[in-house]
């Protein structure tokens, strides 16, 4: 009769989505309390502590000995160790000191607090917008006005702000506690979307009033998974979407406002760092265009008993292909994985070529400076460094390795390669500059590059997967 009970349970479950055990209000920041009403969502939410790797994503649990300064006993792998070229890329910026593969939401507060980047630069309170349950903090600081609270938080030193934060992103950051509807609680995203829509000719866009439910299933993620900068002395968190969401459109904006995030240690170019533009790249892809939301893949419906709930274990969809992809794509799991990885392999291939080009340019500018070149003589090369850097970093920092918009990612990398190599060419005009022989491709090397190409190996005409470019000692493994 075990079977019978089972079936009985199933039938009744379907009609009882939840018991309202506790009352939730706009001050309830503790997810454990929400979890009393929604135990299944809460259980899954807690599982964002899990760590496992995919070819390019997920994360790996690396043990470490906790110290007083950094009490974490587990971190994720260092991307700087994976690919030392990144240190050259970011020389002079905090990222060159510590940059790790990102992992589940459960870690966001700790990972921000204890990253060594905190020791290099004095970070502002702004950081907390995306690494903590910030909604109640805004409300408290702003006395009910989240925009006021936002401004206050931005201006605080990180250490002070940090004391106000209790949880990583929590239920209240995405949900209205009364209705459980999705809502946007982040002023920076509200402003960003307003600016972006204005560039499209739409005035006074209000994301919380005008977005559809399906849009909200991406917008709640877009609150944090975007490119940003800290504007002005008030360190206002700002999304650079005033000209559009494409990387090259952001570049136009950054040039127009004269933003620079740091000055490169070797070349002195005024540079821009791109960060996790998942929302923006996704926007350029066919999935977005077909109305497929972040939550469709990263929080797919999953059956718990007779209920279908949104899987609050937010993670790489490649760890959960059946639920994340097969609802829409009726093909075997292995094939879906191969499709995603083929896209990622191509992105990674071009990304590596662009990375080499960047390193060559940096070395060349160094040599030119040694030869006595001044900033004016280097202008063209430095601008090429700036522009290429942002475009390459945009794809590098974007965490899907091109999956969210495969052709667009490749377009940006192609453009970046052009900037870097043009930047090298621009040095010709510099008196005394001869360039390094090492960066000159010999016929052999050229052929070598070709010979190192991914080779297909499997048998079916239509089923080949591009292998990761062969990695000699000097090449990094995929992150």
């Amino acid at each position: 009769t075990a079977l019978l009970v089972n079936i009985f349970e199933r039938k009744s479950e379907a009609r009882n989505p939840f018991f309202r055990v506790v009352e939730l209000d706009d001050k309830t920041d503790d997810p454990a309390i929400w979890g009393k009403n929604f135990p299944m969502q809460y259980d899954a939410y807690k599982r964002t502590v899990d760590q496992s790797r995919t070819r390019y994503g997920g994360s790996e649990a690396i043990q470490r000995t906790p110290t007083e300064a950094d009490p974490r006993s587990v971190v994720s792998q260092s991307r700087l160790e994976d690919d030392p070229r990144l240190k050259i890329m970011w020389a002079g910026y905090a990222f060159a000191v510590d940059f790790r593969e990102e992992r589940g939401h459960a870690y966001m507060l700790d990972d921000q607090t204890f990253t060594e980047r905190q020791h290099v630069t004095k970070q502002p309170g702004t950081c907390l917008n995306c690494h903590a349950s910030a909604y109640t903090i805004y409300n408290d600081l702003g006395k009910g006005d989240i925009f006021k609270g936002f401004e206050a938080l931005n201006k605080m030193p990180y250490a002070d702000a940090r004391k106000l934060a209790k949880h990583p992103v929590a239920c209240i950051d995405c949900h209205n506690p009364q209705t459980m509807e999705l809502r946007v609680t982040r002023p920076a995203f509200i402003e960003g979307m307003k600016n972006y829509k204005e560039s499209q000719g739409i005035k006074d866009y209000d994301v919380n009033k005008m977005a559809t439910r399906q849009e909200m299933r991406s917008f709640v993620c877009g609150q944090c998974h975007d490119e940003y900068y800290f504007k002005g002395a008030d360190k206002r968190l700002t999304y650079p979407w005033h000209k559009g969401l494409k990387a090259d459109q952001m570049l136009v904006y950054y040039d127009a406002v004269g933003q620079k995030d740091w000055v490169h240690k070797e070349t002195s170019a005024p540079l821009l760092k791109a960060q996790h533009p998942e929302f923006e790249l996704w926007n350029q892809g066919i999935h977005s265009r077909s109305g497929v939301a972040c939550a469709d893949c990263h929080m797919p419906y999953t059956r718990v008993g007779a209920l279908k709930i949104s899987d609050h274990h937010v993670r790489s969809p490649l760890l959960n292909i059946a639920n994340a992809c097969q609802t829409c794509h009726r093909v075997p799991e292995a094939e879906l994985k191969a499709r995603a990885e083929t896209i990622q392999d191509r992105t990674f291939f071009l990304r590596n070529i662009a990375m080499d080009a960047l390193v060559d340019l940096i070395n060349d500018i160094k040599v030119a400076r040694k030869a006595g070149a001044n900033d004016e003589q280097l202008t063209a090369s430095l601008m090429a460094h700036r522009h290429g850097q942002f475009l390459l970093d945009f794809v590098e920092a974007e965490n899907s390795t091109g999956f969210h918009a495969p052709q667009e990612a490749a377009r940006l990398l192609g453009l970046a390669i052009n900037y870097f190599r043009q930047g090298q060419n621009a040095l010709r005009g510099v008196p005394g500059f001869t360039g390094m022989v090492a960066s000159v491709p010999s016929a052999d090397a050229t052929t070598q590059t070709v010979m190192n190409l991914p080779m297909v190996s499997d048998s079916d005409t239509r089923k080949w997967v591009m292998a990761v470019p062969r990695a000699p000692e000097s090449q990094p493994s995929p992150h």
């Binding site: 009769t1 079977l3 019978l4 089972n6 079936i7 199933r10 379907a14 059956r303 007779a306 059946a322 639920n323 097969q326 609802t327 829409c328 009726r330």
Partner: protein, 164 residues
Amino acid sequence: MVEGKPSKFGRKLIWVGLALSSLVIGVGAGVGGFTFVYAKGGSYMTNDPKACANCHVMTAQYDGWQKSSHHAVAVCNDCHTPHNFIGKWTTKALNGYHHSLAFTTQNFHEPIQIGPRNLEITENACRNCHADITQQIDHMAFAITAQSSPISCIHCHKNVGHME
């Protein structure tokens, strides 16, 4: 498989099916039988699409069917059971037994995906209703050889039964 000509595999299945159906329909007591009845395994015996949707796991397909181009012209069984008496009831029994068991033990791949046997049945259902219009593309002229085997209707018309 060409219409009206059950493959070797198909013929074997008919026998297995007959055996199973007697097992399922014939059993009056025991958990297996009770489960089948309680879970409305009997749904399989009617032509009413609502009956299929008795199992909540069929809801998505039911909803999809309601939005589909065939909503007015074909019910579940028109596409998911063979268009001949024996085949139809064998399939019902096989699927009925299999689905009841799967549902009760909750042991099945999600999302539910049509298997090769049921796919072939569905393909043949298309051909059965649409023989008139599809004969040019289905049977290339004189000979029926390996290469002139039909190409899958569902390759192009995936959405006709269940709008996505």
